[in-house]
Symmetry: C2
Subunit: 107 residues, 2 copies
DNA sequence: TGAAAAGGCAACTGAAAAGTTGCATATCAG
DNA sequence: CTGATATGCAACTTTTCAGTTGCCTTTTCA
């Protein structure tokens, strides 16, 4: 599960919105996820494919419909591995910023 | 400070790498940030502009050089507002996923 | 069995974004 | 002052990616 794919997937507002929808109600079909968007079903299909590639969404065929499930694990890995990294030295970075801004004020 | 700009900026691997570099050593110049990349200085400049637009990086001219500082605040806002949202219902989503996968095993 | 419903596949279009090239500007060092 | 260093600006090319169009397959149900 590549971190790159996750960040790339989250980079598009429409895809985050799709995640939000699944977050509100999990297990929705493709057609359900299309409602309210002013784009074609195929466009939504592609966005879901990107989300599946990033493992943020898992899908399953049931009869003629396809159910989509949110997988929160990659999001947490980002929180832990990546955001956490910045968290640990947050104060130092903010201190640098503060010094920089103060110097700016002097001018 | 729009959340969209932050996600968009983080969507590109090169830009996350630039953040990592500033995280390792804050206050680097443009030329320093160019080293090791196989792209032109102008390309790096554009990436830094995107990062500044997202407020992930703040810069300051010092003489003829431009110093870049990491701003960790937007990253934390994402962690709090967005990732935290999924955190709160993580168990439910994972339970849905588990049910889905078990059904898959039956087939 | 056959029409409607749900979705898949592939080629195409268009626009955004990445990256380059060329030149200009500003600053420092001798 | 002069050359070297560090960066900026703008136009251009290229690539990537979102979105559409057209047609096909599978499933459901009357």
């Amino acid at each position: 599960m590549s971190m790159d794919a996750v960040f790339r997937a989250l980079g598009e507002p429409v895809r985050r919105q799709l995640l939000d929808r699944l977050h509100a109600r999990n297990g929705q079909t493709l057609n359900e996820l299309c409602e309210g968007h002013d784009m074609t079903r195929q466009a939504v299909t592609k966005h879901l494919a990107v989300l599946e590639e990033a493992n943020l969404v898992v899908s399953q065929r049931r009869g003629r419909e396809k159910l989509h499930y949110l997988n929160p694990v990659p999001i947490h890995e980002i929180a832990d591995r990546w955001i956490g990294k910045y968290e640990r030295s947050r104060l130092r970075a903010l201190s640098d910023l503060k010094k920089h801004l103060e110097r700016k004020d002097d001018e």
